[in-house]
């Protein structure tokens, strides 16, 4: 197989995975939220309501695509793509197993975070182009929160990078294989040194996925539907998909950085190799379940509280922690650089 063909196939697989993920996650969200609220969620279409989301996708595809009169046509059409593409691109560096990944980037972590941060630009575009005041407020809010939380998000992963000395995601996973003293898995989450970083990562990552308690940009009780108010049909579908794929990426990053990626303790490598992607996916889905659980429970934070929290608490905290962490690592020579 020529390398071009192989990469093309990998990219197609990523697209397929993203679309599949979207459909499955929407179904999962409905079921999980339903159960959390003592409801059933979709049960009618297909066995256990499994066909509900595919039908919804069909509905979105066949619905009339309305373009309001006063919109900025070019931006209005680009915006869904500008939101969707980065979400898709973010799949490129995620290691599903030692061998399964679109591309093994040496700067995989940085790449993923950078690409994810492009999403907010698309949201602003959508908000501005819609010629709708609710959308505009939603777009502005989203840019504000994304810029503010970009920094703690990037900084919160630094301890991991300092520890393993690489930005390559598969190397980070490999560094977490094995166990501490034969009891605990050697995932970074079992090491108290990484807990502050993990908490900061989770908070900033929640903002990335635009979910309650941080769904400021489409706060449905305030802004009707935020930046997506004027979008219909599949354009709206793209926003929707990108949001779900973002929660997948965020959960996948958390699993890769702190929960050992595809590794399992006590399982020899030969056994693990074929089931690695399954292990990874399971971990990611557990992470997504927690995201949905949070979504079904918490009220929304206010915009200014959110910004104050970022600039006044989170960023100083994460900077301090990096300093302390660096000292500890250096003093006790704890780092385990790979490769």
């Amino acid at each position: 197989m020529s390398p071009e063909l192989a990469s093309l196939l990998r990219i197609l697989a990523a697209v397929g995975l993203m679309l599949m993920n979207g459909v499955i996650l929407i179904y999962m969200l409905r079921r999980v939220l339903g159960r959390l609220h003592q409801r059933l969620g979709p049960v009618h279409v297909g066995p256990q309501g499994l066909l509900q989301t595919p039908m919804d996708v069909l509905k979105l595809l066949t619905k009339e695509d309305i373009t309001p009169t006063n919109v900025d046509k070019a931006l209005y059409f680009i915006a869904p793509a500008a939101v969707f593409t980065p979400s898709l691109m973010a799949y490129a560096a995620i290691p599903f197993s030692p061998t399964w990944m679109v591309t093994d980037l040496d700067t995989g972590l940085l790449y993923t975070l950078v690409v994810m941060s492009l999403v907010s630009m698309g949201l602003l575009m959508a908000g501005w182009a819609s010629a709708n005041k609710w959308s505009l407020i939603g777009g502005m809010r989203s840019v504000g929160q994304h810029i503010a939380y970009e920094i703690p998000l990037l900084l919160s992963v630094l301890p991991v990078v300092m520890y393993v000395g690489t930005l390559n995601l598969s190397s980070i996973v490999e560094a977490q294989s094995g166990t501490w003293l034969g009891i605990l898995p050697q995932w970074f989450i079992t090491n108290p040194l990484f807990w502050p970083a993990f908490i900061i990562f989770i908070v900033s990552a929640l903002i990335k996925v635009n979910q309650t308690p941080f769904d400021m940009s489409e706060a449905e009780s305030e802004l009707v539907a935020g930046f997506a108010t004027e979008y219909s049909s599949m354009k709206f579908g793209l926003f929707f998909l990108s949001e779900f794929s973002n929660s997948f990426i965020v959960s996948a990053l958390a699993v890769t950085l702190f929960f050992g990626g595809w590794t399992l303790p006590f399982v020899p490598d030969e056994v693990l190799a074929p089931i690695a992607p399954v292990v990874f996916m399971l971990k990611v889905y557990v992470g997504i379940f927690v995201l949905m659980w949070i979504r079904g429970t918490l009220p929304r934070v206010r915009m200014d509280h959110l910004m104050q929290f970022a600039w006044k608490i989170l960023i100083p905290a994460v900077l301090t922690w990096i300093l302390v962490f660096g000292f500890i690592i250096k003093l006790f020579d704890l780092g385990r650089p790979v490769g």
Partner: protein, 402 residues
Amino acid sequence: MTEPHFTVTESGLMTPEGMYIPGEPPKGIRRIPKGVDRLGTEHLIVNMGPQHPSTHGVLHLIVELDGEEVVTVEVSIGFLHRGIEKLAESRRFDHLGTLMDRGDYVSVIHGEQAVALAVEKLMEIEVPAKAAWIRTLTAELTRLASHLVWFGTFGLDTGAMGQFLYAMRDREVLLDILEEISGQRMMFNYVRPGGVVADLPTGIESRILSFCDTFEVYLEEHDALLGGNEIFQARVKGIGVVSKETALAFGLTGANLRASGLGFDVRRDRPYDAYPELEFDIPIGTIGDSWDRYTVRMEEMRQSLRMIRQLVGGMPGGPFTAKVPKVLRPPAGEVYASVESSRGETGIHLFTDGGTTPYRMHYRAASLFTCQLFEEILPGHLFADACMLLGSFDIMLGEVDR
């Protein structure tokens, strides 16, 4: 409030003193200007409602925003006007309840009760003890149901979805009980001048008591889920402070007034039906912010539960309605009767001319007074808080617009 004469032009607002640049908007603005503030940024005017998720019905707010901050608010009501007061002039006295049901359609019994009390006062009908107790029981059950709607939508306004559905779950049981008593889930048409339509069905007492037992647990859960949440506390504490003076000036009643620290409650201060015989406390807030309104209403639910227990336990025997003629002909006169509904004092002012229908009926709706407050309270808050504040005041547009 004197009204200055403003003319709205394309670029701003002309006042007698010349062009008005918004910043501190003068009182009594009728149309919000398309203003420019000192930083030279343009203000945004958004029409919030009548179709907006958090206006609780068809309230229309014209909000001028400076960034995220609310500069002025104009409340525009009347989208749900059905002419209840005028219609009442062609309804027989025992049929007025069906109109009042559609006034405040979430706390229904209270409207019916107000009408019944007014007619009874006019005709000097003595209500049998049992009738009064049944009325009070249904009124307290309705208050619980109504407060649950407030609780759920308040959560929804702050962005939390869970408690809305949990509140609806509990309300469902309440509505089932009320359906069993009255025959319908929302428009009960149960209270009539002289008493109630029918006796309590057999076995309802145990149902109510078992509801009380489960709900007691759920209520604490609700309180912990929303009120215990730090995010929620950060959002409501100190927001939307209504001082005692403002509350009095705007004629607030009910929980909104009590949250400001004024302990007026019709149930205690102008007792009617079985309330004099009941033991209950009236929770009072301190500074009148949204948190006070939240805690006062939550405490009111606990007190309602307490009252329901007493009412079920001490239900007297006897007839459930006084002997009243089928067609009521109160003597000519004027009467005002009020009850404590879930939203405040619901009053009925009746003028009669000796006929079978009222000559004129005035319906004092507590939410209308709360609505007027928005123009005073919302400016200066963030837009997100404005939505939350609408929820905290618990307005009912069916009652505002009638």
